[in-house]
Every structure is written in C-alpha cells, then in structure tokens.
C-alpha cells in the first residue's frame, strides 16, 4: 500500500475534494456539537434522509445537488419547527412525519432520475457523495452555505447553550427560545447539505454527529468540544480522501473504493477508541470536606 500514491497532489479532482470535504467537515464539527448538545441528532438524521429528496429533485432540474440538499433542508426545518419540534414529544413526531413524506418524494424523484437519464450513477452520487466529480464552481456555493451555518452557532452560542440546559431559564433571561431553536435547525440543515455532498445523503449524519460525539466525550467545555469536533472531522475527511485515492491500486477491481466508506469508517473507529480510552465523564473523587 502506498501513501500519497503518484499524482495525488497534482490531481485537480483531489484538490477540489480536499477543499470541499475540508470545509464541510469543519462546518459539520462546529454545528454538530450543538446538534448533539441539544438532543437533535434524530432531526439531523432526518434532514440527511431528506437530502436524498432534494438531491434527486436537483438532478431533474439540472442544477448542482448541493442546491437541492440545502433547499429541502431549509424547507424541512421550517415545517419541523411549525409542527412543534420544541416539545420533547412533538419533536420525534414532527421529525418522523416530515422525514416520511420527504422519503416518499425521494422515491418518486429517483425513479424519474433513473428512467429519464437511464443511468444508475445518479443514485450513487446522491446517496454516497460526489466529492471527486464535483466541479470547482461549487466551492463558492459550499462557502456560501457553510459560513452562515457557522455564523449562526457562533452568534447564538450562549443563548443556544442556555436554552439547551433549560428553555424556561433562557426565556426568563430574555432569550427568544423559539427563534433561536429555528436558527439552530437551519444551521443543522445547511451543515447536513455540505455533509451530503461530501459523504453522501445517506451517510451525512455520520460527519455531523460522529466527530461531535467524540469531542463531547473527550473535552470538558462546549467551546473546546466545537474545535475538537471540527479537527476530528477534518482529519477523518482528509485521511479518507488519501486512502480513497490510494485504493485505485487495491483489490478487487482496481478502480478504487468509495471515499465516503473511508471517512465514515475512520469516524466510527475514532468513536470506538474515544469510548474505550477517552476521559470518562465520570465523577472525580474528592475528599469530603
């Protein structure tokens, strides 16, 4: 096995992949920390599933799947908020209903996609990512979606944290809890759309939730958790790209393994390691007194 196989740094698709994957991983790490903190992992997962709907619709409309991923995410976030994602029991219900309806549409769009273009490549691109086939022109769009998502969690850092601890406490301090929650959901939708173009719609929660879960395990403050999650996601994505490039020389068929497999596998094994060897969140034993 070669690390940095010949031509790695000269390859233009690799450059684009490193940039798009890198930006997506950092955005997902920063936003994902709040997704996990606020117990909205299921909402993040549903937004990922819905990205399939958006992605397949964008192929019908002949635009970059990123527009479809983000568009459907923002619409779904709005509907989920309307149905009542703020109530603990309403949350799973709202998410489940929107997710079910979206996946139904996805079945229809994917059917049209495959029958009209008579290829199966479309489904693979949407479901499992398209970093190596994305054109340079998408980079500004990635930034245009990533920056607002990061801005939302940076600006609302303290109100989001306080309303995660207790929505009532936040309301008493003058935080507009519902608006804050909706903004956070929008940031999650944007982050998921970036994740979907990197590792694919089906796997997009892995990049959103995985690094964040690892970071929450090994750090002690929300700020450090955000930075750690971004770095873990970035590491997994870049190493994944290197391995995917190398895998062109691997069996069985010598035409490469999918990059999303490597990224998700790296995140999963890092998570296992953090669970086994990371700092237990258990109590430090103190002398009474």
């Amino acid at each position: 096995m070669t690390v940095f196989a010949p031509g790695f740094f000269a390859s233009s698709p690799v450059h684009v992949a490193l940039v798009i994957g890198g930006i997506s991983a950092v955005v997902c790490g920063l936003v994902g920390t709040f997704t996990v903190l606020r117990g909205q992992s299921y909402a993040g997962h549903a937004l990922g599933d819905l990205a399939v709907t958006g992605g397949s619709a964008s192929f019908l409309a002949n635009v970059s799947p990123l527009w479809g991923f983000a568009g459907i995410g923002v619409i779904a976030a709005g509907i989920m908020d309307m149905i009542g994602i703020r109530r603990p029991r309403g949350r799973d219900l709202a998410t489940g209903i929107v997710r079910g309806a979206g996946l139904g549409l996805a079945a229809l769009f994917l059917y049209w996609d495959t029958t009209s273009s008579s290829t199966t490549g479309v489904s693979i691109t949407i479901l499992f990512g398209s970093m190596f086939t994305t054109s340079t022109s998408v980079v500004p769009v990635v930034l245009a979606f990533g920056l607002p998502a990061v801005a939302i969690v940076a600006i609302l850092f303290r109100p989001l944290l306080l309303s995660s601890v207790s929505p009532e406490l936040a309301a008493v301090r003058g935080v507009r809890v519902r608006l804050t929650g909706l903004a956070c959901l929008l940031a999650i939708a944007l982050a998921v759309s970036l994740s979907a173009i990197t590792v694919g719609a089906i796997l997009s929660t892995a990049l959103l939730i995985g690094p964040a879960a690892i970071a929450l395990r090994v750090t002690n403050t929300p700020g450090r958790a955000m930075v750690t999650a971004a770095l873990v996601g970035l590491g997994a994505t870049w190493i994944g790209i290197v391995l995917a490039y190398d895998s062109f020389y691997w069996p069985p068929s010598h035409d490469g393994w999918p990059v999303s497999f490597f990224i998700v596998a790296l995140i999963f094994f890092s998570f296992l390691v953090s669970q086994l060897f990371g700092r237990r969140p258990g109590r430090v034993i103190r002398a009474e007194g």
Binding site: L37, G39, A154, I155, L156, F157, R158, P159, L161, L162, S164, V165, S166, E168, L169, A170, A171, V172, R173, G174, V175, L216, R217, T219, N220, T221, P222, G223, R224, A225, P281, G282, R283, V284, R286
Partner: protein, 291 residues
C-alpha cells in the same frame, strides 16, 4: 395620610395583585394576592396541581394572567427582567454534556448575549465569588450532570443570583433532595441570601415542614386560591377550612404539621406529607389511618 402607604408600596419587591389565570376555560389561579418585602423568606406551599408553578410563571412573565397584575420593584413584571432570578424545577444536563458548574454560573451573567464569550479575569472572579457564596467552589470544574442533586441546586442558585436580582424564585428546589441537603439549601437561602444580603426569596414546596422554622410568611395555595400571612396566621383550621371549602384538621405530630381532611375512605393528608395530594385523588393519599 397617604405617605405611609406609598412608602410601603415602594418597599415591596413583589406585589401580586388579584392574579387570576384560566387555561382552556379551567380556573388555575383565582384572585391570588400577596406582597413580599426585601429580605423576606416566603414559602409558596401547596399540593401538586394547586397552581404553584403557574403562579411562578406569571411572576416571571412566561404566562399571562387572565386578570390582575404583578409588579416587581414597582415595575410591571414584563419590564423587570433583571430584578428576578429563577431556579426551575428541572434542568436537562446529563453527564455527557460538557457544561461545567462554572460555565452554567457564567451563563447567569451573560447567557442572553450574542457572540462567542471571551475569557475575562473580571468575569472569572465574579463567577468564583458566586460559587464560593454557595459553597460550590470545590466542584466548580466538574460537569453539572455529574453533580449530586444538592450540588446541582447550589449551582443553579449561583446561576440565578450572579446577576444580583432583588427577588429569587425557586420551583420545588427541595424535591428529590435528601433531608441533609435540603436543610443545607434552606439555611443557605434563608440566612446568607435573605437575611444577610436582603434578597427576597419565594420558594415553592409541596412539603412545608422542613421550611416552617425559617419562613417569614406563607402563601398557601389550594385549588388556585391563596391564604397568606405568617405560619401562625395561615396554618389554622378555620383559615384552611375556608380555603379548601370543607373542614380540615391541622395536626401537630411531634412537631410535624399535617393538614388532614376526613373522607369516606378515612383520612387524607392534604399537606405536610410527601404523599399529600389534592382532594379528588384519594388513590394517591390513602394513609391507612381509619376513624
């Protein structure tokens, strides 16, 4: 001679004036009326479902009153946010959440502000002083989710008081605490904050006995109506019987006060016992005592 009255009114930290609340047509609170002065330690006593949380939510401006008004420091409740500190009944922090005690206390200072908080020496000093005031400095750097119930209550009290409010509202802070932790919290609130620092405290509880020795006054809620006064003025058979609308007995059992109603099935403890319940739910309160 009006001056005495106005002087009295400006002294009042909290003035609840004839507050009624109806939710979905059902009366929850009915003409509740009481006032709290600086440094007073007042118990909001009543069974679960008596309207305690609703009353606290009205005072906090989270729930609109159907009738009546609430004034805090002479201002309408909606304009008095900075004057009130609040300790909610439950918070959502499991041990996986990387929020340390000092982070939660700092959020009491600036949790509504926008942007990433920058570390500042002045803020850290304020947080340390507040943690010290509630004897929580020794677990300042631990995750709140890992702390015991009593330790969490200290952190929540520090969170509520760091912005220097004049009124502190606590919703059932003693529920789920062991007797020793409850006593420590009561002493902290009554001696250090009410008496020494003149913070007015309104503390809700369904079990009044641990509080009775230190309460300046009681607001006793039953079925949405309130009787207020000193313990001696309120915990009486005639006052409580008229509040409940039927005869109740006030029993002193070895210093423990029980409010008891006589029902077809025996005695029902209405207050003074952890199993106390509102009338109409006898299944929660069968005590086995027979007439």
């Amino acid at each position: 001679m009006t001056p005495a009255v106005t002087a009295d009114e400006t002294r009042q930290v909290l003035d609840v004036d004839g507050v009624s609340v109806r939710l979905a047509g059902r009366p929850i609170l009915d003409e509740v009326r009481f006032a709290i002065e600086p440094g007073e330690f007042v118990g909001l006593i009543g069974a679960n479902g008596a309207g305690k949380t609703t009353l606290l939510r009205v005072i906090l401006g989270l729930q609109a009153a159907t009738a009546g008004s609430v004034r805090i420091g002479g201002k309408p409740a909606a304009h008095a946010r900075g004057l009130v500190g609040y300790v909610p009944q439950k918070i959502q922090l499991d041990p996986d959440m990387p929020v340390r005690a000092r982070d939660l206390v700092a959020l009491g200072l600036d949790g509504n502000k926008l942007g990433i908080p920058l570390p500042s020496r002045g803020k850290r000093k304020l947080v340390d002083e507040m943690l010290a005031a509630v004897d929580a400095l020794r677990f300042a750097d631990e995750r709140v989710g890992n702390l015991s119930g009593g330790e969490q209550q200290r952190v929540m009290i520090a969170h509520a008081l760091i912005s220097k409010p004049r009124l502190l509202l606590l919703d059932e802070p003693l529920a789920n605490l062991d007797i020793r932790s409850a006593q420590e919290i009561i002493e902290l609130l009554s001696k250090r904050f009410a008496k020494q620092q003149q913070v007015s405290v309104l503390i809700s509880a369904h079990e009044m006995n641990p509080l009775l020795p230190v309460l300046d006054r009681i607001v006793y809620l039953a079925a949405g109506r309130a009787a207020t006064g000193t313990t001696e003025e309120v915990i009486r058979e005639d006052v409580l019987s008229s509040l409940y609308g039927h005869h109740v007995d006030v029993l002193n059992m070895h210093g423990r006060i029980l409010v008891v109603a006589h029902t077809d099935e025996g005695f029902q403890v209405l207050a003074g016992d952890d199993r106390a319940a509102e009338p109409g739910h006898p299944d929660h309160s069968r005590t086995g005592m027979q007439a």
